[in-house]
C-alpha cells in the first residue's frame, strides 16, 4: 500500500517538476483564469443591448451573429502559425528548398476555406432561422477580412516565435484571446466598459475589424467606414511585418541554440 502511494507521489512529483519548467505557461494559465471570465459579465447586459442599437442600428442577435461568425477568421489566423511549428514538420520543411513564407501560407489556406464555410453557415442560420436582415458589401467585406487576417497573422507570428523559445506558453496569443473576448467588440460593444478599459479597445485591431465588418454586412459603403478602415489598415501594416520579424528572429535563435525540435 505504501509502495503504491509512493509511486503516485513520484508520478505527481514528475508532473509538477515538468510543469514548473514551463514558467510562461503557468503565468498565462493564471492570467486567463482571472480575466477570461470577465467578458461574460457584460454579455447580454441591458447596457450592451442599448449600446448596440445606438451604435450599429442592429438588434442584438445580428450583432452577436456577426461577431461569432467572423471571430472564426481571427481564431484561425491566431492559431495558424502555431499549428505549423510542430517541431518535426518545421524541421522537414526547413531542410527542403521551400521558403517558410510558402509553408505558412500553404498550411493556412484550408483553415481559411473552413472558416469561410463556417461564416456562411452562421449567416445562413441567422438569415433563414432567426430572420436576421443583411445587406452585404462583398468588396468591403473581403477587404476588411483580409486586413483583419493580416493583423492577426502578425500577432500569431509574434506568439509562435515566443513559443518556439519557451516551448509551452505563449503570452501573446493568450493576451490577444483575452483582449478579443473582453475588448474586441465580439460579444458586446466596448462602449459599455468603463472609460479606461474602452481606451484599450480602441488601440486593438479587433475592435476596428468587428466594427467595419458589421457595417459592411448591414448596408454601409466603404467611403462611409473609411476612417476606421484606415486605422485597421495602418495597424495591419505595422503588426504583420513586426510579427514576421519577431518570428524570424526567434526561429533563428532556436536554430542557433539547437532547440528547434525541443518541446
Amino acid at each position: 500500500m505504501f509502495a503504491e502511494l509512493e509511486k503516485i507521489f513520484y508520478f505527481t512529483k514528475r508532473d509538477i517538476i515538468s510543469f514548473s519548467t514551463y514558467k510562461t505557461n503557468i503565468a498565462i494559465l493564471v492570467f486567463t483564469a482571472v480575466f477570461g471570465a470577465l467578458s461574460f459579465a457584460y454579455l447580454g447586459s441591458n447596457a450592451s443591448m442599448q449600446s448596440v442599437l445606438q451604435l450599429y442600428g442592429e438588434n442584438f442577435t445580428t450583432y452577436i451573429l456577426i461577431g461569432l461568425a467572423f471571430s472564426s477568421y481571427l481564431t484561425q489566423s491566431l492559431t495558424l502559425v502555431q499549428k505549423t511549428i510542430n517541431p518535426w514538420a518545421l524541421e522537414e520543411v526547413l531542410v527542403s528548398p521551400t521558403s517558410l513564407t510558402t509553408f505558412i501560407i500553404g498550411s493556412s489556406i484550408w483553415g481559411f476555406i473552413w472558416s469561410t464555410a463556417t461564416v456562411v453557415v452562421y449567416l445562413a442560420i441567422g438569415v433563414f432561422i432567426f430572420g436576421v436582415s443583411l445587406s452585404i458589401n462583398i468588396l468591403g467585406t473581403v477587404i476588411v477580412v483580409a486586413l483583419g487576417i493580416s493583423a492577426f497573422i502578425g500577432f500569431s507570428m509574434i506568439g509562435s516565435g515566443i513559443l518556439i523559445l519557451t516551448k509551452q506558453g505563449d503570452p501573446v496569443t493568450a493576451l490577444i484571446t483575452i483582449a478579443t473576448s473582453l475588448f474586441g467588440n465580439v460579444l458586446f460593444p466596448p462602449q459599455v466598459l468603463p472609460p479606461v478599459l474602452q481606451t484599450i479597445a480602441f488601440v486593438l485591431p479587433q475592435y476596428y475589424f468587428f466594427k467595419c465588418i458589421r457595417l459592411m454586412l448591414t448596408g454601409w459603403t466603404i467611403p462611409m467606414i473609411l476612417p476606421d478602415l484606415l486605422i485597421l489598415t495602418l495597424m495591419s501594416a505595422i503588426i504583420l511585418p513586426l510579427g514576421y520579424g519577431v518570428y524570424a528572429w526567434c526561429l533563428k535563435t532556436a536554430r542557433k541554440n539547437g532547440t528547434l525540435s525541443w518541446f
Binding site: 526547413l94 528548398p97 533563428k252 536554430r255 541554440n257 539547437g258
Partner: protein, 337 residues
Amino acid sequence: MNDEYAIRTVNLTKTFRSKAQGANSGFFSRTKVTIKAVDNLNIEIKKGELFGLLGPNGAGKTTLVKMLCTLLPPDSGTAFINGYDIVKQPMQVKRSLGTLFSVGERGFFWRLNGYRNLEFFASIYNVPRQKRQGRIKEVLRLVGLENSAFDLYQKYSGGMKRRLALARTLLPDPPVILLDEPTTGLDVISSRNIREFVRKTVVESGRTVLYTTHYIEEAAKICDRIGILKQGQIVALDTPDALRAKIKKEEVIYLAVEGIMQSQIEQLRNLQGVISITENGAEDLAPNQYGFCLKLNNIDDLPSVFDFLFDQKIKLVNFKREEPTLEDAFIELTKRT
C-alpha cells in the same frame, strides 16, 4: 561548381549552452552547461563515396548532420555540399541534399496514404509536376513499397515508415544523401534491407552518402571509409580494414597440440616473444590433446613457436589467430583521450 568532394567541412564548430537540472536544484535554479558538440571538424568525402560516421551517443553525429543540411548554423567554420557553402548558399545546398533523420516518421501525415505523403513532399522538394507521378512510383518501387502505396501511413510498420522516409529522401534525386542513424529502432531484417538498399541502389547510382550510426558492424559492412567521431572530433578515419589494423594489440593465437609435456610447455613459455600461455580447454579436444592461448609480442615471433613444436615433434592439431574486430578499434579509439 566543380569540387571533387561532395561533402567537405572546414573547421566546423558548434557549441551548445544549456541549463541542466541538478539532483538537488530547486524549481528555479539551473546549472549552466557548455557542450562542444562539433569541434573544429575537417572531413572530406569524395563524390560517389559511402562514408560512415561512427560514434557513441552524444559524439556529435546528429549535430553534424543538422549543420550540413542547414538546419543548424555553425558557430564557426563552414562546410560545402556539392561545392555549395552551407552558410552562404543554403538554398543551393538544400537542392543538392536528401536528408533522413533518425526518427524516420517525422513530418509525415498519418492520415494520408504513402503516395499522397510523397506527392506533398515532391511538391515542396521542387520535383517537376510532369515528372512527379513517375518519380513517386519509381522511389516507391525502389524501397519496395509499391504494393502499399495507397495504405494509410498510420497502418505502416516501423520498417515501412523508415522505407517511406528513405523514399522521400530520394524523391528529388539528390546527388548527396545524409542518413542519420537510418536503422535505429528497426528489427534485424528491416535494418539489413535498408543497408542493402543503401549499398546497392543508392551508392551504385553514383550518389554520395554520409551514413551515421553507432552500430559498428553495420558501418563495416557497407561503408567505403569510416570516421570515428568522439566529442565532436574525428579520432580516426580510414577504411574498415585499415581501422582494424590500426589497433596496436598483442597477437593472440589459439593452439591445440597433441602429446605435449608440462616441461615443454614451460620451455615454450620461455621462448623469445612469448608473453604468456594460458590453458584454453576446448570441448572437442581428445584426452591426449592440449589447448592453449598464446600471447605474442608480435606476429613475427610465431615462426619460432612453430619451429619449437617441430623440433620437439609435437603434433599441431589446430591453430587460430584472433583478428581484431572493428568493435575493438572503436572501443580503443574512443577511449583514448
